[in-house]
């Protein structure tokens, strides 16, 4: 993993890495270290002095029912978003993965929502499903559903999941399509010669061969649901009603806005960091497996 042909210089390599190193140190390591340090401190009422309290902030945080609920909620949201978006995208990719007329046009028409920003996604969906003026809420009311996500927590959660899954369809579709196209046609043909019908071929041949892609996308989608949904939640429900849509990232933001408990806020950040690092580690392990696959 090393180049044989290289340049000699005493100072040049340092000058070349200096800009990136400076930015990374100032805007990444310094704040991350601050968060870790502060999570072990408690400030006095005037913010003048602080005492080292070990894991007191964490203990306090984890004993709050609110925080525990937010953890559970975030994971439920993540899986709901990942599963609904993945299954719809897989269906579309399977349909598009055959010599159809208009195949490239179809791909074009399905991938562009990737570029729509989360807050815009939120605005689009709240407009469709706004209780008083939304076009779809109107339809729901005529068939007798009492739709009001501004008051009903369950409906608000459903709205977030739908909007977030909608945005992620295109990303998943692209990766599924690439995954399907890399499956050798001979394998599918062999199964066909053995007399397997299309549905059976899919579940016994295609699906298992696609499992690395599925697993990779599952992790990416969960990370997406953790962080990118912030913009969707903030424009649609602001974490409400009654915290029904408050995820971990949203809670960090809200508690921080209120100010005050610096240590608790830092502890929240550190817990988020740990979750992300774990997810990334899982993903890297998977990438290794993909190579030997």
């Amino acid at each position: 993993m090393q180049k044989q042909a290289i340049f000699q210089s005493r100072w040049l390599p340092y000058a070349l890495v200096a800009p990136q190193l400076a930015i990374v140190l100032v805007f990444f390591y310094w704040p991350a270290a601050q968060a870790v340090l502060q999570s072990f401190l408690v400030q006095d009422a005037f913010g003048l002095s602080s005492t080292f309290v070990w894991f007191e902030n964490y203990r306090e945080l984890l004993s709050q029912p609110d925080y525990f609920d937010a953890i559970v909620r975030t994971f439920v949201f993540s899986f709901a978003i990942a599963l609904s978006s993945l299954s719809l995208a897989l269906l579309l990719a399977v349909m598009a993965d055959r010599p159809l007329r208009g195949g490239t046009l179809y791909r074009t028409l399905l991938i562009w929502p990737y570029a729509v920003a989360p807050p815009v996604v939120g605005v689009l969906w709240i407009f469709m499903l706004n209780p008083s003026l939304g076009v779809i809420s109107h339809g729901l009311r005529t068939i007798g559903i009492d739709w009001n996500p501004l008051l009903d927590g369950g409906q608000a959660a459903l709205l977030i999941v739908l909007a977030a899954a909608w945005k992620q369809i295109s990303y998943n579709f692209l990766f599924f399509l690439a995954g399907l196209q890399s499956i050798p046609k001979s394998v599918i043909e062999a199964a066909a010669i053995d007399g397997a019908r299309p549905t059976r071929r899919f579940w016994t041949v295609t699906f298992p061969l696609l499992s690395p892609t599925i697993f990779f996308l599952l992790v990416v989608n969960i990370v997406y649901a953790f962080f990118e949904t912030f913009g969707i939640i903030d424009t649609m429900t602001r974490g409400g009603p009654a915290k029904a849509t408050e995820t971990l990232v949203y809670k960090v933001y809200q508690d921080g806005l209120l100010g005050g408990n610096l240590g608790g806020s830092a502890a929240q950040s550190v817990i988020l960091m740990i979750i992300v690092i774990l997810l990334t580690a899982v993903q890297f392990r998977f990438v290794e497996r993909k190579v030997t696959y």
Partner: protein, 282 residues
């Protein structure tokens, strides 16, 4: 060849068109709303066909803004978003390509330590260290500035890794050949490596531009002045007021305008976009 079932093919077309409809409907509705009269929308009497207020609404949106909530013309928000997205994309590519060059083409003390320092930043998005970063940016007096908007988002390793991977595949003979021609490290980088990296840079640019344009939480925290707002922040502020006061045609026109540049980039540079997406796995 596997048999082409006649019915299956029709099913495929139908399913894909339903998928396209699901994907497109919210955007279509936004466009339609942006061409209609606010009173009709507020009454829930909105038509599903475009109305006659297209030019009026978009003119007001771009040059005037809403009369209530922000009063900032969306044109200037788009300018802020554009500057931020360009700074993030170009800044990240520039600092990453030279640091990857150093790591691959030089041997120097702490080379691997530095590489790991950069590599680890892959793991944590800005959202998890948001308030400490805010404090630093405010201590450096960078709130409400383009530098404050973009610098913390440049601090990540994706691009560095990508260039490093690419440089490793460049044959050693190229360097030897240009050395025989008397080229030093600068000439080699400028005349040989940069031209070879053009496609990679373009693919990366497409992805980073979209990511930059679509940033939300960070600009939300560090911009307080109305004239520094990006379009994503502006649109959120427009719907803060109660339903009755929200000027929906303008909100929807802003949504359409916020989508235009990144969607255009995806459609116009589809090949590069797909390539960049698969390479950065973002």
């Amino acid at each position: 060849m596997v048999e082409q079932e006649g019915i299956g093919r029709y099913v495929a077309h139908v399913v894909i068109w339903i998928g396209i409809a699901i994907v497109a409907f919210p955007v279509y509705l936004a466009f339609v709303a942006s061409t209609q009269d606010n009173a009709a929308i507020a009454n829930g009497q909105m038509s599903l066909l475009p109305g006659g207020h297209f030019f009026e609404t978009y003119y007001r949106t771009i040059f005037v803004g809403t009369s209530g909530s922000t009063r900032e013309p969306v044109g200037s928000m788009m300018f802020n978003s554009l500057v931020m997205a360009m700074l993030i994309a170009l800044g990240k590519i520039a600092i990453s390509i030279i640091s990857a060059y150093a790591v691959v083409y030089f041997r120097f003390p702490f080379r691997m330590a530095i590489f790991w320092l950069i590599f680890i930043t892959l793991m944590l998005p800005v959202e998890v260290r948001i308030y400490p970063t805010y404090k630093i940016v405010s201590d450096l007096h960078l709130l409400d500035s383009y530098a404050g908007l973009s610098l913390p988002l440049i601090a990540s390793a994706t691009a560095t890794l990508l260039f490093r991977q690419f440089f490793m595949t460049v044959p050693d003979e190229l360097l030897e050949a240009s050395r025989i021609d008397g080229a030093g490290p600068f000439r080699f980088f400028w005349d040989t490596l940069l031209p070879l990296s053009r496609t990679n840079m373009a693919a990366l640019f497409v992805i980073l531009f979209i990511l930059g344009w679509n940033q939300y939480l960070w600009p939300l925290l560090i911009t307080t002045r109305d004239d520094m707002q990006t379009i994503q922040i502006g649109i959120r502020k427009m719907i803060t007021t109660t339903d009755a006061l929200t000027e929906w045609p303008i909100v929807m026109a802003t949504a359409v305008l916020a989508m235009l540049p990144p969607v255009f980039v995806v459609l116009a540079m589809q090949k590069l976009f797909v390539r960049g997406l698969v390479e950065t796995e973002k």
